[in-house]
């Protein structure tokens, strides 16, 4: 069996896993992009709360149930879900790691992290829809994103523990300062490359598939 692909879609993406259908279809082995809880076909979690690392647990559970983790799996994380993909890679559950716009926003100081956590809690508290029991998908709580985690030392230490090959695919929507991208790639312990994909306003799966072909991580069209 070929190596599988597990895509963790962006948190809050109303189209959820379906945004990645083109890449899933193009992947030569088993592939899936599960709808995370609170998105598309998957109801909000019991209790209706979210934390960034939870996406790793949910996505891995879906991949295990689908039986695509047995031969090693390539894990792709988009934007803030890139952190969940990095956790899986650091934890030894990925044979390769793909980060799409996942290198992170500008670094925050500890003081900015704490201020951001408090701002996050206050914004949730002031939104009745976010505090109320989940009424549908996407869950109103997801509109508030997450408490910030982008502290340089923490993320750098995590990345220095990731030894599998890493491919960063950046689009014009990336929050990462362009001058920092190369330095952030150097934080990974294993080989890491950077490719760019065009964003045409729709699902970016096609552009990412093109970047993966250029990088040799995906066979050329028609050769799958």
């Amino acid at each position: 069996m070929s190596t599988g692909l597990l895509v963790i879609h962006d948190i809050g993406d109303a189209h959820a896993g379906s945004s990645w259908r083109e890449l899933v279809d193009a992947w030569p082995g088993p592939a899936m992009a599960p709808d995370l809880p609170g998105h598309a076909e998957t109801p909000p979690p019991t209790g209706g709360a979210y934390a960034l690392p939870d996406a790793a647990v949910y996505a891995w559970r879906a991949a295990e149930e689908a039986g695509i983790t047995n031969e090693g799996v390539v894990v792709l994380g988009q934007a803030s879900a890139g952190f969940a993909a990095e956790l899986l890679a650091a934890g030894g559950r990925a044979s390769k790691l793909i980060l799409v716009d996942g290198l992170g926003p500008p670094w925050l100081t500890i003081e900015q992290i704490v201020a951001g956590q408090q701002r996050f809690m206050r914004e949730l508290f002031e939104d009745p829809a976010a505090l109320a029991p989940p009424a549908g998908v996407p869950d109103a709580r997801l509109a508030h994103d997450f408490a910030p985690i982008w502290e340089r030392e923490f993320i750098g230490s995590l990345r220095s523990s990731i030894t599998v090959p890493v491919l960063a695919v950046e689009t014009p929507d990336s929050p990462t300062p362009s001058v920092e991208r190369d330095d952030r790639l150097k934080e990974f312990a294993g080989p890491a490359d950077l490719f760019y994909a065009a964003s045409q306003g729709g699902p970016i799966a096609g552009g990412v598939a093109g970047a993966l072909r250029l990088a040799g991580w995906l066979p050329a069209a028609g050769q799958a």
């Binding site: 709360a49 934390a51 647990v57 003081e111 992290i113 408490a147 502290e151 995590l158 030894t163």
Partner: protein, 245 residues
């Protein structure tokens, strides 16, 4: 005794029971944000500003609420809840830590909670951990902190996800940064005796206390982690003085 006659009121809060978005067994989401919102909502219900008193994890929680929602809080009392020692929050091996976290999340989700045969067995287990806590208190905790499991035995009510935590930048510096953003008076009590879950060394405690804009600290003699259980009269006297200041 502490005078709680009108217009003062005291409310004891069972965490995780007052929330609108209930956090239940089986949910791997980080509970801390929900708990902060639980307490904030109770403050709103009681009529702010409210004095918050918290022990251990609850002590950290009341500081989080005070820092994030100062308009709801008059003052905060922290009973041996200034966080773990700095060295316990340092991740030496992120790969091992991530693997452990993922494995623990799997295990908690898939394995049923351990069931015990009797309250006495659970009380003794607690006594083995909290050796300074009188057995009668351990039995009290077991009596009020357990429920029936699916196989008829007894399980702790506390959600096992409380032990899981959530990977992120949480360390001594983030705690001190949070404490620095606490614009309300804080009283912190700590026991002078070595005890389970009282691992913060005096120099680390002093550094954290120094971060608060307005704090008083009282070491309580002949007490360990459960200050209010071991020295209730001293605790109440300090509370009375703090509340009247």
């Amino acid at each position: 005794m502490l005078d709680l006659s009108e217009p003062d009121r005291a409310t004891l809060l069972d965490l995780g029971r007052a929330t609108i978005r209930l956090w239940e067994w089986g949910d791997p989401a980080d509970p801390s944000v929900l708990m902060v919102h639980d307490v904030a909502q109770v403050c709103q219900h009681l009529g702010p500003p409210v004095t918050l008193i918290g022990h251990s994890f609850g002590g950290g929680l009341v500081l989080s609420v005070t820092s994030a929602f100062p308009e709801l809080v008059d003052s905060a009392v922290n009973l041996d809840g200034l966080g773990p020692p700095p060295e316990m929050m340092i991740v030496q091996d992120h790969a091992a830590s991530a693997a452990q976290w993922l494995n623990d999340a799997d295990r908690i989700d898939r394995e049923p909670a351990r069931e015990y045969a009797s309250l006495e067995e659970m009380a003794q287990k607690r006594k083995d951990i909290n050796t300074r806590l009188p057995y009668e208190w351990c039995l009290h905790l077991a009596t009020h902190g357990t429920k029936r499991g699916p196989n008829g035995g007894l399980t702790w009510k506390a959600d096992p996800h409380m032990r899981l935590g959530s990977p992120g930048p949480f360390n001594d510096a983030t705690l001190r940064a949070q404490y620095a953003r606490t614009p309300r008076p804080v009283m912190a009590l700590s026991g002078t005796e070595e005890d389970q879950w009282s691992f913060l060394q005096p120099e680390d405690r002093a550094r954290r206390l120094a971060a608060f804009p307005d704090v008083e600290h009282h070491p309580v003699a002949d007490a360990g982690h459960y200050i209010h259980v071991e020295q209730p009269d001293v605790t109440v006297a300090l509370l009375e003085r703090f509340l009247k200041r």
